[in-house]
């Protein structure tokens, strides 16, 4: 990496994602430029050739993720970055990567939608697309950074989870986080945990690309190194060839589901702020998490026992901390720059009276400030009295 570590730097969120990818060992980037994600491609175009990696600008986003999947099958840690319109195009290949169990990372720097929407304005409206964008029951991991430092650390995390579970991982950044600059001190290579995919320990003639193992994750050989395997988007058996046998098709979907269900602890990453004695909880993520943090401080100064739960890993949804919180608090506020995508997920877990869980859904692309969250919280409290 041609960037200094251990000293303060003023980086943008997008730059930090790019350097996080490099720190995690990314060697391939295939993408198509789109505001507000382009800076990631710019850094990768400059950095990858210097370390023997490959950067390629493809003809569109479908091909971009296709190239990423191919490079990953060949053994390179690979990723792409895009925004809403490109993310929509990538959905087919996200499903393929999940089905073929190809590790890869997709960065979606969210902007206003639907369609080409507001290219230079922020939004959080791709939350559900990150979970359910492609068809079929596939496991989803989505990560939402809220600071430039998290853009770095959570990108490393995204690569690690992707390699560990052979699964596509989505980083849900947004225009504000991607374009803002903050002071960061990047950790050196020996301070970062990097996980590489498990390699087969059997001779090539015994190798099964989707072998049934105790961890639920099959070791993955690099294509072209003597291990023969078949990859298809069709439902397949352990050898990778299509099957319709019900025991095998069920086992495959169970395997996918268990990537989430058997690893809930590993896939749980939440920032809890002032939650020990909280009676009013704000659930926020991404850039809005920063405003929520400030709003908690403002409410505490006025004597309101406010707290915040900020899922850093958004999908799988942090069920246990949220359920635990719902049993303790009397109000929940979910501020989001969309019509309430994550609020519904919170409501699903709750048995609270109507109106106790509310959203602050700002569709004006100018962001949600701490004052707005504070005012909404005070309104909810005063109405109850």
């Amino acid at each position: 990496m041609s960037i200094k570590t251990g000293v303060p730097l003023l980086l943008s969120g997008n730059e930090a994602v790019a350097y996080g990818a490099l720190a995690a060992g990314a060697k391939f980037y295939g993408g198509y430029p789109i505001t507000p994600s382009t800076e990631i491609a710019e850094v990768m175009a400059a950095e990858l050739p210097r370390i023997g990696g490959k950067f390629i600008q493809m003809e569109d986003e479908i091909a971009s993720l296709g190239a990423v999947i191919g490079a990953s099958i060949a053994g390179l840690k690979s990723f792409t970055a895009t925004s809403g319109p490109g993310f929509s195009l990538m959905q087919e290949h996200i499903g393929f990567a999940a089905m073929a169990e190809v590790p890869c990372v997709i960065v979606d720097v969210m902007r206003g939608g639907p369609s080409t929407g507001l290219p230079t304005k922020t939004s959080q409206s791709d939350v559900m697309q990150a979970k359910y964008g492609s068809h079929g029951d596939y496991p989803s991991i989505a990560i939402a950074p809220s600071s430039v430092m998290e853009c770095f650390t959570l990108t490393v995390k995204a690569f690690n989870l992707s390699e560990k579970y052979r699964i596509p991982v989505i980083i849900l950044s947004d225009e504000i986080v991607g374009h803002m600059r903050e002071k960061v001190i990047l950790p050196g290579p020996d301070e970062i945990e990097v996980i590489d995919r498990m390699q087969p320990e059997v001779p090539p003639e015994w190798y099964q690309h989707y072998a049934d193992t105790i961890t639920g994750v099959s070791p993955m050989a690099n294509f072209g190194e003597g291990y023969r395997f078949h990859i298809t988007g069709l439902t397949h058996d352990v050898s990778g060839f299509p099957t319709e046998r019900s025991d095998e098709t069920t086992a495959l979907l169970e395997k996918f589901r268990n990537k989430e269900n058997h690893n809930t602890h590993d896939l749980l990453m939440v920032d809890e702020f002032c939650m020990e004695d909280a009676d009013f909880c704000i659930v926020a993520y991404g850039s809005v998490g920063r405003s929520a943090r400030q709003a908690v401080k403002m409410l505490r100064q006025e004597g309101v026992k406010a707290g915040m739960i900020r899922p850093q890993i958004l999908w799988p949804f942090p069920k246990f901390p949220v359920e635990n919180m719902l049993e303790r608090v009397s109000h929940v506020l979910v501020p989001e720059m969309n019509v309430g995508q994550l609020r519904k997920e919170v409501e699903r877990l709750a048995c609270m009276p109507r109106g106790m869980i509310q959203g602050l859904n700002v569709l004006d692309p100018s962001f949600i400030t701490a004052e707005q969250i504070h005012d909404k919280a005070m309104e909810m409290i005063s109405k109850q009295k």
Binding site: L10, H179, M180, E182, K183, F273, C274, F367, T369
Partner: protein, 211 residues
């Protein structure tokens, strides 16, 4: 993950909006100001941008929030310092200035100034006449902001210019920063005693910077 003793204090902060039209270098100006504050003056800063889909022309803004403590205001609605390099920006954003905040305008472009307390400097003219290139108008502006408010030191600004720009562009840009800084300093010195007393202290003296 759960903090033992959460600190509930909200640190003092200064929010600055740099506005004008696309192509005037406002994004770079914001970046230099943030870098000077965060890297060379040991403060914290968050810098964000706002612009339309056009490459040139159209409204362009850059915003910087500087504080010795944590900054969680990624976007502000109201600003303590407002820089306007175009009349359109001045008309559109004057209302976002807080009561008693400082308005700094490029009087080459901004002819209708909504307050008599504004710091008016012919920045574009200064850039052309004294630095030989209008592209450094943005750095004259950054110098002027800091010369007036003293929230970031001149040394830090120069260091930020040196580290962010190509070596052959540094002398012209450093000259522009110093020019703006000196002009604003002189403006404050020439104020009447009463007016100067009303200027808010924007420096973070007496506050402890968090690393």
């Amino acid at each position: 993950m759960v903090q033992a003793v959460p600190d509930m204090t909200i640190a003092p902060k200064v929010a600055i909006r740099l506005s004008g039209t696309g192509g005037q270098g406002l994004l770079l100006a914001g970046r230099i100001l943030a870098e000077a504050a965060a890297i060379y003056d040991g403060l914290n800063a968050v810098q964000s941008n706002s612009y339309g889909p056009e490459a040139r022309g159209g409204a362009s803004r850059s915003e910087v929030v500087i504080s010795p403590g944590e900054v969680d205001d990624l976007r502000c609605k109201r600003f303590d310092v407002l820089l306007c390099l175009s009349q359109k920006a001045c008309d559109a954003y004057y209302s976002s200035l807080v009561e008693g905040g400082v308005l700094i305008v490029d009087s080459t472009n901004v002819t209708v100034v909504p307050t008599s307390r504004a710091l008016e400097l012919p920045m574009t003219r200064m850039a052309i006449e004294e630095c030989g290139n209008r592209v450094v108008t943005n750095l004259i502006a950054v110098g002027a902001i800091c010369g007036y408010t003293r929230m970031v030191t001149l040394e830090a600004l120069v260091a930020a210019v040196e580290s962010s720009l190509r070596a052959d562009l540094v002398p012209m840009n450093v000259k522009a920063i110093k020019l703006g800084y000196a002009a604003a300093e002189k403006f404050v010195q020439d104020m009447s005693e009463k007016k100067r007393g009303q200027v808010r202290d924007y420096s973070f003296k007496g506050t402890q910077a968090t690393p």
